[in-house]
């Protein structure tokens, strides 16, 4: 097992290097020229040229990359062209919001999706099975921002049960910063009132974001459970007189969750992109909206940094997923 984990870690390194190269090439081929935008709306061509020189857009490509790699190594990802602060600081401020949102969404999707999928497999071809399939697919098919606006209209405007936007009420001091995750920090500082507020704010965005993942997780769990239930050991357990419920929830579940975990890993990266629409509607100050703004303003260093950070997180999550996969299904670890 340890060998597997180490092996997996080692495999991440070429992926990260590849990521660096790929993103740098990609973004450098973009012919955008932020020097004009940086120089200001009333600038003369001379001013634009001066800015271009100051920011190093004139250097040959390979030189820029070498400098860039050295900078990344020392943790210096440059300054955002717009906010003129270290990009890593901008992202660090915004990352907890996105991670918290993504995590809660995935948690919800998994907690609802896995049992749903297993039940659908157990009651194969029943009305429940059909209904579950249709409903989860409906969740996939709904345009997330349209659904978000509907939720807002109903729960925030009409009923006034939930807050309209943001992570936290305006003017109220956020929970004492320990992790940056409001839900965690408020619990750690025993401020249950703040926990309630943060929870109310995250409810609608996380629910909206979870819909797409829900379908995927439920379907793959169902497929995995169906397959497991064909297996001989299940027949044997039935024959041996084990309670049906125990078979399903203890043995089948564990094996079917395997399929779901791979999906969860894949979903995580996709969720950060999908979070863009949700972050926009609910005004969630996360990395998704930061990335979009960076693209719209040609904030070259910010775009690269977001890609790297998200890529890094994604790789870590994948390692974790693979380890969990190996733990659940020991055969995977054996055949390296």
């Amino acid at each position: 097992m340890t060998r597997f984990v180490l092996h997996r870690l080692l495999l991440t390194i070429p992926a990260l290097v590849g990521l660096l190269v790929l993103t740098f090439i990609m973004l450098r081929v973009l012919p955008n020229d932020p020097s004009a935008a940086l120089a200001g709306e009333n600038a003369t061509p001379d001013q634009i040229a001066a800015v271009r020189k100051a920011y190093g857009f004139d250097e040959p490509l390979w030189k820029q990359f070498v400098i860039y790699v050295r900078q990344v190594g020392t943790g210096d990802l440059g300054n955002s062209i717009i906010s003129n602060r270290p990009v890593i600081r901008d992202i660090a401020e915004r990352l907890p919001a996105t991670i918290e949102l993504t995590f809660i969404s995935l948690l919800f999707a998994a907690c609802v999706g896995i049992p749903l999928g297993t039940l659908a497999a157990v009651w194969y071809q029943s009305f429940f099975d059909h209904a579950m399939r249709v409903v989860t697919v409906a969740g996939l098919a709904i345009a997330s921002f349209w659904f978000a606006i509907i939720l807002q209209m109903i729960f925030a405007m009409e009923l006034d049960w939930l807050p309209l936007r943001g992570r936290f009420p305006v003017g109220l001091a956020a929970p004492w910063h320990i992790t940056g995750f409001y839900l965690v920090d408020s619990l750690l500082t025993l401020r249950f009132d703040l926990f309630g507020k943060a929870f109310a704010h995250i409810l609608m965005p996380a629910f909206t974001l979870s819909l797409a993942g829900l379908a995927s997780i439920a379907r793959f769990t169902r497929a995995g459970a169906l397959e497991t239930m064909q297996k001989e050991f299940v027949h044997y357990a039935e024959a041996a007189g084990y309670a049906r419920r125990r078979i399903v929830w203890v043995y089948v579940l564990r094996n079917s969750v395997v399929g779901a975990t791979t999906q969860i890993g894949l979903l995580f990266g996709g969720l950060i992109s999908s979070a863009v629409a949700v972050e926009a509607i609910f005004d969630w100050p996360g990395v998704g909206s930061y990335a979009v703004n960076a693209i719209l303003t040609s904030d070259y260093k910010a775009v690269l940094a977001v890609t790297l950070v998200v890529g890094l997180i994604y790789s870590i999550v994948n390692i974790l997923v693979d380890v969990v996969h190996a733990w659940l299904d020991p055969r995977v670890a054996e055949k390296l």
Binding site: P31, N32, D33, P34, S35, A36, A37, L38, A39, G40, E41, N42, A43, T44, P45, Q47, I48, A50, V51, N79, S80, I82, S83, N84, R85, D90, E93, I149, Q152, M153, A156, M157, D160, W161, L162, P163, L164, R165, G166, P169, V170, G171, F192, D193, F195, G196, K197, F199, A200, L203, A280, I281, F282, D283, P285, S289, I295, L296, T297, S298
Partner: protein, 529 residues
């Protein structure tokens, strides 16, 4: 069993806790203003000169002169007055005494001179208005209340451009200078001003939020306002519908200054908010690249000018919230000829001009492109309206989406400049130079404002002369004549002068609109509960 009950129980408890708090969620504090307009990219007023930065700067910093009221008047602020020498080359400004910065130190002419030096060295944002006429060694401070500016050539809009330049606290910035950067890295997330409101930097999240508290010791005093606002919380909301919903719900006290006309009725119908409508100075224009055939042919340009459905756009899409503008200068500013007839929407006339252009050999058959910015809905709509009409007279217009930074950089050269593109020209300083001067004088070729690549020697001469004279009476006829020539040449398609629509909560009073800063001057505002 046990675990499940525990989970369900705690879930229920949390939900109850969340609901129980809902009363406190919606309403902001009674004496706090929640301002939901866009924040600038960073906090350094010399880094960029755009509408969000102006909205920020007018509250946190002071300038030598400010613009008040609508139509705007130039009013002395940090200055008490100025004199201009006969040759127009020396501007002497007298400063007010007893002005203090937020950190308690005194504001003197030394700070004024240093600020302008910084401006000319940083060379960004508002510097563009001054670089052609000012050198660092031309700015001096003979005594603590006098600043002297020696210009390289006479420049009429010089004083009108003063509101662009925030006066910075030298003593506060200098210790934070790194690598000769004039403190840019530090000032990007800090403040060093003297204005009516002091930012609380601990609350600053770039582009997202910033809290400010009132400066009780501001030199202008607070006697004009019986209940000024103590705390302003600026929050930026990206999505239009969320912003409007937040205003109607009472979460925020304003929207940005680009409220879609279709949302106006909804806001007016709500009990919590209203809409402030003011004619501003922001002209929407469809540029034509005069150097690319067939746009180099005047008849073709005339055909295009008659092919845009101005009335349909202004009355239909904008619901009447715009004023038809015949030429480049906003109709509510001097220099725009009052009798200038705008082009009308007439497809028959357009067809005639098209035929003439074709006879002269212009390549009217080729597919022309208009570049729009997709998240600015009006550029898309205007382009599609033009496309519909052009199809009827046999011209193929293709719509291409692009982003502002790319558009700006593409205008550096004539062959990379798009055939057509849509944008606005906002009021950076109140002077025709801001519009007609920087758009149609050929010396500005290579900048986005002059992206029509128009060249007319007579117009160049008129504009250059007007730039150097300082008497408005003498300048006005020059600008009017230039306007007439440019419009007759149909250099671009000018559509409207904007009526600014901003949603405002009913509890906000004292909102005073001026075209610069979009009325975001908190100094005059107060709240009723």
């Amino acid at each position: 069993m046990k675990r499940r009950t525990f989970l369900m129980g705690s879930g229920a408890a949390v939900t109850v806790a969340a609901m129980g708090n809902r009363v406190a969620l919606a309403q902001p504090m009674p004496d706090e203003l929640v301002w939901a307009d866009d924040l600038p990219g960073n906090l350094d007023p010399y880094s960029v000169s755009d509408v969000p930065m102006q909205g920020y700067m007018i509250n946190v910093y002071d300038t030598l002169y400010v613009n008040k009221e609508n139509p705007p008047k130039l009013v002395p602020w940090l200055a008490t007055g100025h004199t201009i020498s006969d040759d127009g080359l020396t501007v002497t400004v007298k400063l007010r005494e007893g002005v203090k910065f937020h950190d308690g130190s005194s504001l003197t002419s030394d700070d004024v001179v240093w600020s302008f030096h910084r401006l000319l060295n940083v060379k960004k944002g508002p510097a563009a208005a001054f670089l052609p006429v000012l050198d660092t060694n031309g700015i001096t401070a003979p005594d603590p209340t006098t600043a002297v500016f020696k210009l390289k050539q006479p420049y009429a809009p010089f004083v009108a451009a003063f509101p662009l330049v925030a006066i910075l606290n030298r003593r506060q910035i200098e210790p934070n200078i790194k690598d000769n950067d004039w403190g840019q890295a530090w000032l990007a997330s800090n403040s060093a001003g003297s204005g009516c409101y002091i930012p609380d930097i601990s609350t600053y999240q770039p582009v997202q939020q910033l809290d400010m508290k009132r400066n009780h010791d501001h030199f202008m005093g607070w006697t004009h306002n019986t209940s000024p606002i103590e705390i302003v919380r600026r929050r930026s909301i990206m999505e239009t519908t969320t912003r409007v919903n937040a205003l109607i719900k009472g979460d925020v006290d304003c929207t940005d200054s680009y409220l879609p006309p279709d949302q106006v009725d909804r806001v007016l119908a709500s009990k919590t908010a209203t809409v402030s409508k003011n004619q501003t100075m922001r002209v929407m224009v469809l540029r034509m690249n005069n150097k690319k055939p067939p746009f180099d042919n005047r008849n073709f340009r005339l055909a295009m000018s008659h092919a845009f459905n101005y009335k349909g756009f202004i009355d239909g899409v904008l619901k009447g919230y715009a004023v038809r503008n015949a030429g480049p200068i906003p109709v509510n500013l001097w220099g725009s000829p009052t009798d200038l007839a705008p082009y009308d929407f007439n497809l028959d006339t357009a067809k005639d001009y098209l035929a003439k252009a074709k006879a002269e050999g212009a390549p009217v058959e080729r597919e022309i492109e208009i570049q729009i910015q997709q998240h600015l809905a009006q550029t898309t709509q205007a382009a599609q309206i033009l496309q519909q009409s052009l199809r009827k007279i046999g011209v193929n217009l293709k719509i291409v989406a692009n982003l502002w930074p790319q558009l700006v950089s593409s205008t550096a050269k004539a062959d990379t400049t798009p055939d057509m593109w849509a944008h606005w020209v906002s009021a950076y300083f109140i002077d025709p130079e801001n519009w007609i001067g920087q758009m149609y004088d050929s010396r500005f070729h290579g900048t986005w404002k002059a992206s029509c690549w128009y060249k007319n020697d007579k117009v160049d001469a008129l504009l250059r002369e007007a730039r150097h004279l300082d008497d408005q009476g003498k300048r006005q006829p020059l600008y009017e004549e230039a306007s007439r020539i440019i419009v007759a040449d149909a250099a671009d398609i000018w559509i409207y002068n904007a009526i600014e629509l901003r949603g405002i909560s009913n509890r906000l009073h004292g909102f005073e609109f001026t075209p610069i800063g979009s009325g975001a001057d908190f100094r005059t505002m107060s709240l009723t509960s």
